[in-house]
């Protein structure tokens, strides 16, 4: 029973980082209805910038965090300019495929610059875990959860309480009309992209500070976790992104404890599969209305 509860706590903590990754994903997908596969690799570029400063200059956690966020935003803007801005409305597949190409490019670039497989990453906090009765809580885990909740509220606030957010929602509702009532659509989308990458950068820093190491595989890992959490939580829903992340974290923690690490990912994907079949919109999202064009005649 204590194990079950402790696993749930650990799962929620790790899940909050998945939630953060999904939050950045949701901002991009919600606004543009396009999938950015380079989302994780952009964060990885930021992480490499951070670890580079750490190894070369001995930078502290705050400076590294700043470098990760700045690096992620720069890489994210690069992806937007290259894969998303030039594509016309409706060219969602072209954007996705080109973002896959940039993923490979970013990964290879990272391997070229820092060729060893693993690099150290500075810890966020070396304080001992807090004890609550039989339960243990890691301080850096708590910071991660706090960041996730705060950023989710911040994103929600920007979207629903500011003029910029209103403009974004207008763009989501009707991009053509948004152009023609004077909303600078391209600039707004670029800002949303940069913001999403910044959220991803924060998530990446927190995850890596807990792991205390970074590899080029982190890019793929971040894209996958963010994507799965977003799909479980609901496409385009901000609270959904957070909830999906937390649920994914708990499912992983429990299955790792009871079935071992090999089975853990299998269970996570089974949960995703179950959601896709039974509730394709996820926890809080609306199922996307997909019109399937059947071939004419029989």
């Amino acid at each position: 029973m204590v194990d079950l509860a402790q696993n749930t706590i650990d799962g929620l903590m790790i899940g909050s980082s998945y939630g953060l990754l999904a939050l950045g994903f949701t901002v991009i997908f919600g606004v543009m209805r396009r999938l950015n596969l380079s989302y994780g690799p952009s964060i990885m570029i930021g992480a490499y910038l951070g670890t580079f400063l750490y190894i070369q200059q001995g930078a502290g956690p705050l400076a590294v965090a700043g470098a990760v966020v700045v690096g992620s935003v720069l890489a994210g803007v690069y992806v937007e300019r290259l894969c998303f801005a030039p594509m016309k409305a409706g060219a969602a597949i072209a954007s996705m495929v080109s973002s896959f190409a940039i993923w490979m490019q970013l990964e290879q670039a990272a391997i070229l610059v820092l060729p060893r497989h693993t690099y150290p990453f500075p810890p966020l906090s070396t304080a001992l875990p807090l004890e609550f009765g039989p339960f243990l809580l890691r301080v850096d885990h708590l910071m991660m959860l706090a960041c996730a909740v705060l950023l989710a509220f911040a994103v929600h606030g920007v979207l629903y309480r500011t003029r910029y957010g209103l403009g974004l929602r207008a763009i989501i509702g009707n991009p053509v009309a948004a152009h023609l009532v004077g909303i600078p659509v391209r600039r707004s989308v670029l800002i949303a992209f940069a913001g999403a990458s910044a959220i991803g950068g924060v998530a990446g820093f927190l995850v890596l500070a807990v792991d205390q190491q970074v590899t080029p595989m982190f890019g793929m890992w971040a894209t996958l976790k963010g994507l799965v959490a977003m799909m479980i939580g609901g496409l385009g829903s901000i609270p959904g992104a957070l909830l999906g992340g937390l649920l994914l974290g708990v499912v992983e923690a429990q299955s790792q404890w009871y079935f071992g690490p090999q089975i853990r990912d299998l269970v996570a994907y089974l949960v995703l599969f179950a959601f896709l079949v039974m509730r394709p919109g996820g926890l809080l999202g609306e199922a996307p209305k997909v019109e399937i064009a059947l071939p004419q005649g029989t």
Partner: protein, 249 residues
Amino acid sequence: MLELHRLTKHFGGVRAVDGVDLIVNPGEVLGLIGPNGSGKSTTVNLICGLFPLTSGLIMFKGEDISALPPHERVTRGIARTFQNIRLFGQLTVWQNLWVAQNSAEQRRQNPVRRWFGGGGSAREDIGRTLEFFDLAHKRDELAGNLAFGEQRRLEFARAFAAKPVLLLLDEPAAGMNAEEIDQLDARIRTLRDTGMAILLIEHHVELVMSVADRIAVLNFGQKIAEGSPAEVQNNPLVREAYLGTATAA
């Protein structure tokens, strides 16, 4: 105000608009009519920058705006409505107007207030706009939930909220009943009398004949006639273009 010089747009081999010259003056309603597919909507789309010109010039207040992106044309004072309604259905009536307010004017406001809801004068403006278009009682409703006639009014109101000096109305009367058309007629006159330039595309010939100061007729992308409503009505070319359609007044 607005001058089109040899405006031309080809889609592949189709000459949607083919060398059209037009002038719209302040305080004037120019009616633009023609059979289906004659290039009326394309002309409006070119003026507001929805797609690039093949050739020609668009002069607005003495400046060439042919290469400007749509949102900058709005900033300079060009607003439009759509033939098929394009509101922001997920936003409320009030938000639809707020998001459309002239961004040049908004930039002069304190940036913090602009982000969080705009100054008092901006709110008063929207209130007056809602009154003028008889939508005040619906201000907190989602635009997607409005009745059809109300959505048409909101389209018009949203274009007006951008404080344009040139208003492009693309079939504003489509689907309206007689009473609504009378109200529309009155609103267009009121706006014209404030000095606004209005380009009105309309199939409803009675409305155009009643409200337009001048009328230009397009057919196959070319201007075939221009003049007062009476002159256009008696023009043999126009009668020929409309032959077989009952609306040829």
